[in-house]
Symmetry: C2
Subunit: 300 residues, 2 copies
């Protein structure tokens, strides 16, 4: 096992080989943001905690389906016996970073009855009349569910900060507000997993160009995407500030290199899986007389 | 192609071989309820419109994933250009009839960003204060989406009728109310597909017994399920009345034999697919200058 360097808030540098013993959370450990983390130092084409190639990565993704199904069903089953635990997976990233692919290939592989995706767009008139966390609170997962946010309250310190959509004094307060909010979630039996899909500017250019070259992709393109691309550096800086200010030990970020789609999908799946494993989910006991019900049914 | 018998409201009797030419909707044609339909005449172990065995059925299910993905994405893409079309798949059936399996294996194979499952349980106190269609209207799919109802407004003429949960004069009016409501949906660009998963009493017994024999299935069992089983015949009759009164040409029911899970899943998938094909879904045109945006992006 590699030595874990402890030099402030960094991307975990511990790469592990498959099957190696030690921490059961190689992806989480490798991608967790801690003190001293520098976004600009992350190689967007790297594949921390995974030594395989693309095909091996795709195979590993599919191979984990069974365990994911089992753990998700246990989480859900527990809620039927009064368990309050739920999972909230927050996905952030620049345009074309692959958020949709995560929804489709990672979340989509889980029983849809146990997952709930909420996509946050520009706030509606009604949403703007409320505090920025209002629509977030309304979308929190119920016990037993895996909630997934496609964008989130972090947009309120990203696009809002980059374009000063509210006065700076207002968005500056939000970092502390977010930390308090997330701490309350963690206290309230929410397993919070925050993931940034981190792509390079060049990769974004290629992905946007593909949308302009294929008529079946036109609908995904919006000329405004290019306007936003002009602010690339401002967004990177806004993400850096988030990592500096909103990645406490109990609610850390995971920054996933995302220039390779297959790796990003595998990494998000594995981070989710590692968190589910840690919950030690058991099947609930029967709260009825099994034998008596068997007898009754047999006679029907 | 077999001769389509026209003798009143019946289960379609047209069985077709794979690859045979003619109507492009063999499952829909074989399972659609029309005048003279008798629920008790349906063999719950039959496999209309499919000649293959279990493995071939499972293979056929997976083989259709690609086309389903493509059609769903076109439906969604159209909504981004102002299209109003949406799909509503209503799933009904007795306890253990396999509704959950449909959600997991048929709906779950589609991009979760384009589907929206709503499970209707016993109404809450708030829901009871409103007309029975209130919660249904609130859950209708947005344009571009495939909405799926796990139980529906039909519970209000099923469990409500069997147990007289409201005065009979009240539930008796609901058949006409439902027909009017569904007609308004069809007028409003909703492709409405109503499916009853039809199992035998013996099959239910086996499936309930399995929940009592496996500790990882206990959580799915409720002693009240046996109380409901006592009313089996009443429920069958209530379903028959639904088929008699609420299966007009523009909003017909499809009764799917469901003792074989693999067949029921394939049939529901194929019925959905046949309806999507009929929509003739095209990719939207670009509403921006493709070449100008390519040039701008290239220079960035």
């Amino acid at each position: 096992m590699g030595t874990k360097k402890k030099h402030g808030k960094k991307h975990g540098k511990k790469h592990k080989k498959k099957g190696e013993k030690g921490s059961g959370s190689p992806f989480s450990d490798a991608l967790r943001v801690s003190d001293g983390f520098v976004l600009a130092d992350v190689d967007q084409r790297s594949t921390p905690a995974f030594d395989g190639d693309k095909q091996e990565g795709k195979d590993a993704l599919v191979a984990a389906d069974g365990e994911m199904d089992d753990l998700q069903e246990r989480l859900y089953a527990q809620s039927r016996s009064g368990g309050r635990r739920r999972v909230l997976l927050v996905i952030q990233g620049m345009d074309t970073s692959g958020k949709g692919g995560i929804m489709r290939h990672v979340v989509g592989a889980v029983d849809p009855q146990g997952t709930q995706i909420t996509a946050f767009k520009a706030p509606t008139a009604e949403e703007k009349e409320h505090p920025f966390l209002w629509r977030i609170r309304n979308a929190l997962p119920q016990p037993g569910m895996i909630g997934v946010f496609d964008r989130s309250h972090y947009e309120d310190v990203l696009v809002v900060r980059v374009h000063d959509l509210v006065p700076p004094a207002q968005w500056k307060r939000r970092y502390a507000t977010i930390n308090d909010f997330e701490e309350s979630l963690v206290e309230d039996d929410v397993t919070l997993i925050k993931v940034m899909l981190h792509i390079s500017a060049n990769e974004q250019k290629e992905r946007l160009m593909e949308r302009l070259e294929r008529p079946d992709k036109y609908w995904k393109f919006n000329p405004g995407d290019l306007d936003e691309r002009e602010f690339w550096d401002d967004y990177q800086q806004a993400y850096q500030v988030i990592m500096d200010r909103c990645s406490p030990e109990r609610a850390p970020w995971f920054v996933v290199p995302a220039d390779r789609k297959w790796y990003a999908r595998l990494a998000v799946q594995q981070i989710l899986l590692e968190h589910l494993r840690d919950l030690d989910l058991r099947w609930p006991e029967a709260d009825f007389d099994v034998e008596a019900n068997k007898e009754r049914l047999q006679a029907m």
